[in-house]
C-alpha cells in the first residue's frame, strides 16, 4: 500500500467534497483558459492588425525617424536589406514603404493626412490592413503609376469617388514643398475613424520620384513575422544584419506605444482578476484539505501510534492535495475542452451589443469573443493552478504532521 494509493482512496472518502473542490479547480482552469485564451487571441489579433497598419511587427527605419518622422531621413539600399530580412528564419514578410504626412486636396477641399507608399507587388491583404479593408475599387497595380487608395472618410471629406483626382502635397527630402497627382483606384473602410479619415496608399516609385528619393531609398521596412511573440528576438536579429547598421530597428511596442500600453493595461487587469480568482480557489482547497485533516485527527493519531512518522503524514496529505488538484485539473480539462472548442471555432458574437467598429488603442478589435491559447499559456495555467493547489495543501499537511498523538486518540 503506497502513499499514492492511500491518498487516492482518502480523497474519495468524501466524494461530494472532493467533487466540489475539484469542480472549483476545474472552474479555475476554464476561467483561466477563457481569459488567457481570449487575451492570447485578442492581443495577437491586435498586434497583427497593428502590424498590418504600416509598420509591421518589427520596423527598420532611419535613425531618429521614430521621434521626428521627417522625410529627409531615409534608408538606403532597402532592396538588399529587404531580401536579407525575408531570408531570416521566422519572417513571413517584409515590405519596403515610405510613410509620411501629406495634404490631400481636391477641388472641393483640402485635408491633412498621411500616406504609406507601397509596392503593389509586395502588398497583399495579408500584410496590409488597408488593402484588406478595400470596399470599393482595388489597389493600384503600377508601382510607378498614378493610383491612390484612400480611406472612406477622407474620400467623403474630399468629395471624391473612384477615378477622381487627388493632389497630394508634402515636404520632400530637401524641405521643398512638392505635389503630385493621383487618381483614386480604391477606397477602404477599416471602421477606425482616424485611419479612414487620414490615410492613403500611394505607389512607391511615384512617391520616390516626387520626393527625389533614389529607387532604393525608403523610410520603412515593415517586417511581418510568423509569431508576434518573437518580435524582440527578431528585432535583435535584424539589427545584427550589417546592412541594417545605419538604421533603427524597433518592435511594434516601440513603434506603436499606444497599442502596447493598451495591451499592457488590459493584461494587468486580466492578471489581477485571475490572481484573485486563483486565490479564491486556493482558499477553497485549503478549506477542504484542512477540514479533511481535522476530521481525521484520530486516524492520524492511530497512524502515528503504529509508527508512521510526522514527515510521512505530511507527505500523505501533500500527496492527497496533489491528487485532488490532478482530479481538479482533469475535470477542468474535461469541462474546458468543449467550451474552448466552441470559443476557438465559433466564439461569442458581441457585435449586437457593442457594434462592429470597436477599437482599442487605435486598433480595431473583433467584436466576436474568441480564444486561442498558446501552448505556453496552457502549461502556465495548469502549472499555476497545480502549484496553487499544492501551496494550499501545505498548511493542512503541516497541521496533520503536528497532531499530538494522545489528543487524537482521545477524540472519538
Amino acid at each position: 500500500m503506497n502513499l499514492n494509493k492511500l491518498a487516492w482512496r482518502n480523497i474519495w472518502r468524501r466524494k461530494r467534497r472532493t467533487l466540489i473542490t475539484a469542480f472549483s479547480i476545474g472552474f479555475g482552469v476554464m476561467l483561466a483558459v477563457t481569459f488567457t485564451g481570449s487575451g492570447d487571441y485578442t492581443y495577437t489579433n491586435m498586434i497583427d492588425t497593428g502590424a498590418s497598419m504600416g509598420m509591421g511587427h518589427v520596423t527598420v527605419e532611419p535613425v531618429g525617424y521614430h521621434l521626428k518622422p521627417t522625410l529627409d531621413k531615409r534608408l538606403h539600399g532597402v532592396e538588399m536589406l529587404r531580401e536579407k530580412i525575408v531570408a531570416l528564419e521566422g519572417v513571413s514578410d517584409a515590405t519596403v514603404r515610405i510613410t509620411g504626412q501629406a495634404m490631400f486636396a481636391s477641388a472641393r477641399k483640402s485635408v491633412g493626412g498621411a500616406f504609406i507608399a507601397v509596392d503593389p507587388a509586395f502588398e497583399s491583404e495579408e500584410n496590409n490592413l488597408l488593402i484588406r479593408s478595400i470596399v470599393e475599387g482595388s489597389v493600384f497595380s503600377d508601382r510607378a503609376g498614378r493610383g491612390i487608395v484612400i480611406g472612406s472618410r477622407l474620400a467623403k471629406k474630399l468629395q471624391v469617388k473612384i477615378g477622381k483626382k487627388v493632389v497630394y502635397t508634402t515636404t520632400d527630402a530637401e524641405g521643398e514643398i512638392v505635389s503630385n497627382i493621383a487618381r483614386v483606384t480604391g477606397i477602404f473602410t477599416t471602421g477606425e475613424n482616424t485611419i479612414d479619415g487620414i490615410m492613403a496608399l500611394l505607389p512607391i516609385a511615384s512617391v520616390q520620384k516626387t520626393l527625389s528619393y533614389a529607387p532604393d531609398e525608403a523610410t520603412v521596412i515593415a517586417v511581418v513575422i510568423k509569431d508576434q511573440r518573437h518580435a524582440e528576438g527578431m528585432r535583435d536579429k535584424v539589427a545584427a544584419l550589417p546592412e541594417a547598421e545605419a538604421a533603427d530597428v524597433l518592435t511594434w511596442k516601440e513603434s506603436q506605444p499606444d497599442l502596447a500600453a493598451v495591451i499592457a493595461f488590459d493584461k494587468a487587469g486580466n492578471y489581477i482578476s485571475q490572481l484573485l480568482v486563483g486565490l479564491l480557489i486556493a482558499v477553497g482547497i485549503l478549506n477542504t484539505m484542512l477540514m479533511s485533516v481535522l476530521e481525521r485527527t484520530r486516524e492520524f493519531g492511530v497512524m502515528m501510534a503504529v509508527g508512521m512518522s510526522p514527515k510521512v503524514l505530511f507527505k500523505l496529505v501533500m500527496v492527497e492535495s496533489f491528487w485532488l488538484s490532478i482530479v481538479g485539473l482533469i475535470l477542468g480539462i474535461i469541462i474546458t475542452t468543449p467550451w474552448y472548442y466552441f470559443l476557438y471555432n465559433y466564439g461569442i458574437d458581441f457585435s449586437g451589443a457593442f457594434g462592429t467598429d470597436f477599437s482599442y488603442g487605435g486598433v480595431l478589435v473583433d467584436p466576436v469573443f474568441k480564444a486561442r491559447l498558446f501552448k505556453e499559456s496552457m502549461m502556465a495555467i495548469l502549472g499555476t493552478l497545480f502549484m496553487l493547489a499544492l501551496l494550499a495543501g501545505l498548511y493542512p499537511a503541516w497541521r496533520a504532521g503536528r497532531v499530538p498523538p494522545v489528543e487524537s486518540l482521545k477524540t472519538i
Binding site: 472549483s24 472552474f27 494587468a268 487587469g269 484573485l276 477553497g284 477542504t288 477540514m291 477599437s359 488603442g361
Partner: protein, 414 residues
C-alpha cells in the same frame, strides 16, 4: 433565543472547524469586495478621465459649431448663461477656441488655441492637475501657455521656450504673437496632445479679437449621482429660457452624446465587469458551498445524537440555520472589514500601472495609469448579501437531510 445560544455554543465548541469555515467565507467576501471596488474604480476612473479631464458632463455650443468649428459660431450670452447655471447649482465654465499656426525654431505645426477661464475652469475640470512638466496657467502670466504633449514634441520645445503664433483674428486681420512654454500637459486626449495650446481667456480674446461670447460652455452636475440624461434636459430647458431673450440657437449635449464611441466603450467595460463579477460569484459560491456542506455533513452524526435526545426536526433545522447565520455573520463582518480596508488602501494609493505603460489611451482619450479602487455601497453590500444567500442555500440540503434522517442512521452516518 435558546436555539441561538445553543447554536453559538456549538460554533465555539467546534471552533477549529468553525474557524476554517469562517475564514474561507470571510476571505471570499473580502476578495469579492476588493474586486468589485477595483472594477467600480476602473469605471469611475474611465469616466473621470473622460469627464473630469476636459469634457465635463454637459457641453453647450452654438448650433452648428461642432460640425464646423467656426470662429464666429459663438454663444453670445455666455457669461450670463454661466451665472445662471451656477445659480442652479451647476458648475460651469466657458471656453473660446481658435486655430492657427504655431512655430518654434524652424518647426511648425497647426495648433488649436484654447482660451480658459482659469477660475471657473478649476471648478469643472481637473486639467490643471494634469501638467506633466512646468506649471498650469496663471492670470498674471498672460503669455505663458500650456501645450499638449505631442505638440511640444513636434515643435521640439521645452519649458521656457519661445513660440510664435500666426493666425487670423475674428476681424480678418493677421493675429500673431509670441508665447512662452509655461507647462506641458500629460497625455489628455489625442486632439489636445497633438494640437492643444492652452492660454488664459483674456489673452486669447485679445489675440483673436473676440471681445465677448464663447465657443463652448462646460457644465458639471452639482450632484454626481444625478441622472445625466435628466440633467441634460434640465440644462437644455435653462438654455431654452435664455434663447427667448434673443440669443442664437444653442445645442446642449452630454458627454455620452458627444463621445458615443467612448460612452459605448465604457458601457462595454461595464458588461465585461458584470461577466467578471458573475464568474467571481460562482467561484465564491463553490468555496462557500463546500465549506458549509462540510461543516454540516461532518456533524450529521452529532445531529443524530441530538435527535435521539428528543430534538425535533424543526428545532434541528432552526439550529443548523442559526449556526450558519452566526458563522456567516462573523465571516461577513470580518470579510467586510478586511475588504473595506484593502479597497480603501487602493482607493487612496491606487495600483500603479505606469511602469507598464506611460500613457494608456482608448479611442483617443488618455486614461490614468494609476488604477484606483472606488468604494460604493453596492461594492460593499452585494458581496455580503451574496454570502448570506449562498450560505443559506448551501446549508438547506444537508440541514434538511439531517432533520429527516432517523436518529440511528444519523448517528452512524458517514
Amino acid at each position: 433565543m435558546r436555539i441561538l445560544t445553543l447554536a453559538s455554543r456549538n460554533v465555539s465548541r467546534n471552533w477549529q472547524r468553525s474557524l476554517v469555515t469562517m475564514l474561507a467565507m470571510a476571505f471570499a467576501c473580502l476578495i469579492m469586495i476588493f474586486f468589485a471596488s477595483l472594477m467600480e474604480g476602473m469605471i469611475q476612473g474611465s469616466e473621470r478621465s473622460v469627464v473630469s479631464m476636459n469634457m465635463g458632463d454637459i457641453q453647450i455650443h452654438a448650433q452648428g459649431y461642432r460640425d464646423d468649428p467656426d470662429l464666429y459660431t459663438r454663444i453670445d450670452s455666455a457669461d450670463e448663461l454661466v451665472t445662471r447655471l451656477q445659480q442652479q447649482g451647476y458648475m460651469a465654465s466657458s471656453r473660446i477656441y481658435g486655430y492657427g499656426l504655431l512655430a518654434a525654431n524652424m518647426a511648425s505645426s497647426g495648433v488649436h488655441l484654447r482660451g480658459i477661464d482659469l477660475k471657473q475652469e478649476m471648478t469643472v475640470t481637473e486639467l490643471y492637475q494634469h501638467v506633466g512638466y512646468g506649471q498650469w496657467l496663471v492670470e498674471d502670466d498672460s503669455n505663458g501657455v500650456v501645450l499638449g504633449k505631442k505638440l511640444a514634441a513636434t515643435l521640439g520645445v521645452d519649458l521656457g521656450d519661445e513660440l510664435v503664433f500666426v493666425g487670423q483674428s475674428a476681424d480678418g486681420y493677421m493675429a500673431n504673437d509670441l508665447f512662452r512654454v509655461r507647462g506641458i500637459l500629460k497625455s489628455v486626449s489625442d486632439g489636445i496632445d497633438r494640437m492643444g495650446m492652452f492660454m488664459p481667456m483674456p489673452t486669447l480674446r485679445q489675440l483673436l479679437v473676440i471681445p465677448e461670447g464663447a465657443h463652448e460652455i462646460v457644465v458639471i452636475r452639482g450632484d454626481r449621482t444625478a441622472d445625466l440624461v435628466a440633467e441634460t434636459a434640465k440644462v437644455g430647458g435653462l438654455v431654452e429660457g435664455l434663447i427667448e431673450e434673443g440669443a442664437a440657437g444653442l445645442e446642449v449635449k452630454n458627454w455620452k452624446q458627444l463621445m458615443p464611441v467612448i460612452a459605448r466603450m465604457i458601457e462595454t467595460a461595464d458588461v465585461q465587469i458584470m461577466i467578471m463579477l458573475v464568474i467571481f460569484y460562482i467561484a465564491v459560491a463553490t468555496v462557500v458551498l463546500n465549506a458549509m456542506l462540510m461543516n454540516v455533513f461532518e456533524r450529521i452524526h452529532e445531529f443524530g445524537i441530538m435527535k435521539a435526545l428528543g430534538v425535533s426536526p424543526w428545532q434541528l433545522l432552526a439550529l443548523v440555520f442559526a449556526e450558519t447565520f452566526i458563522l456567516t455573520f462573523i465571516a461577513a463582518s470580518v470579510g467586510l472589514a478586511g475588504g473595506w480596508w484593502v479597497s480603501d488602501y487602493y482607493r487612496i494609493h491606487g495600483i500603479d500601472l505606469s511602469s507598464m505603460a506611460s500613457s494608456i489611451s482608448y479611442g483617443g482619450i488618455a486614461f490614468d495609469p494609476l488604477w484606483y479602487a472606488a468604494i460604493t455601497t453596492e461594492a460593499l453590500a452585494y458581496p455580503v448579501i451574496f454570502l448570506f444567500v449562498i450560505a443559506a442555500l448551501a446549508v438547506i440540503y444537508p440541514a434538511v437531510k439531517a432533520a429527516l434522517l432517523s436518529p440511528v442512521k444519523a448517528i452512524y452516518y458517514r
